[in-house]
């Protein structure tokens, strides 16, 4: 990895600056919630990418990582999270813990 690439990578780790500075580098990945199922259940993404959950249900859900972040997704609405850390995480819905998803986040 050259110095410029490394520099960009560091910038990607800074929240809020991602889209403003390097719009082409980050992707938005959609995860649909329909009838209490996260689809796709497993997503591969990079740090700086945004996950957008699209809730088609009439009830609210969350995407929650125990001891870490939580995104609330109201009924028939979408909510997003920009990934800040690399690693594999399991997430679930705090209201309906039978709903499970997984993110593989590469640096």
């Amino acid at each position: 990895m050259n110095a410029i690439a490394l520099h960009r990578l560091l910038w990607l780790a800074v929240p809020g600056l991602v889209l403003a500075t390097l719009p082409a580098a980050a992707a938005t990945i959609q995860v649909t919630i329909d009838k209490l199922v996260f689809s796709p259940a497993t997503v591969e993404a990079k740090v700086g990418d945004t996950i957008e959950w699209v809730n088609k249900d009439v009830i609210a859900h969350t995407a929650t990582v125990k001891g870490s972040w939580e995104v609330m997704i109201p009924p028939k609405k979408s909510a997003s999270l920009t990934l800040k850390a690399a690693g594999a995480v399991d997430y679930f819905c705090r209201f309906h813990p039978n709903m499970k998803g997984h993110l593989d986040v590469s640096p």
Binding site: K35, L36, V58, I59, A60, P75, C93, R94, F95, H96, P97, N98, M99
Partner: protein
Amino acid sequence: MFTRYTAALAALLLVSAAPFAQAADKPTDPQIAHIAYTAGVLDIEAAKQALEKSKTKEVVDFAKDMERDHEAVNKQALDLVKKLKVKPEDNATSQALTKAAKEERAKLAKLQGAAFDKAYIENEVAYHKQVNGALETLLIPSASNAELKSLLETGLKIFQGHEQHAEHVAGMLK
């Protein structure tokens, strides 16, 4: 047919106080719609009691989740029966559920603080378990309309989530 179902149910109630009949004749779609809607209403009433009485954040949050989800599902159920022109029909199972819930509410009304929290959450676990069992073994298999069946199946997933959520809250209260 329905008399036999009711009689079997009444017999079952005498021994176990379980509002759902397992054997006997299948409930009809109008009866199933009534049972499912009633089960939702009763859990909303239980949630309202918890919101009045509990001061524990986890319990209050759980009760709010129950109120919100069951209201949303029941609204969907009402929209569906209207669309299908099905008139929900009161029946022995709905009545037994209502009677049991009324007794539970009276029991809970006498409790305060941690004792109330524990009893409310434990009853939520038991209640969702009971309703989910009935959905799986009786109501979903008996439903003849495909849209009603599909709504009940989604309802089952939601209420299984509630059961797990209630178990989690019960674990936190210990």
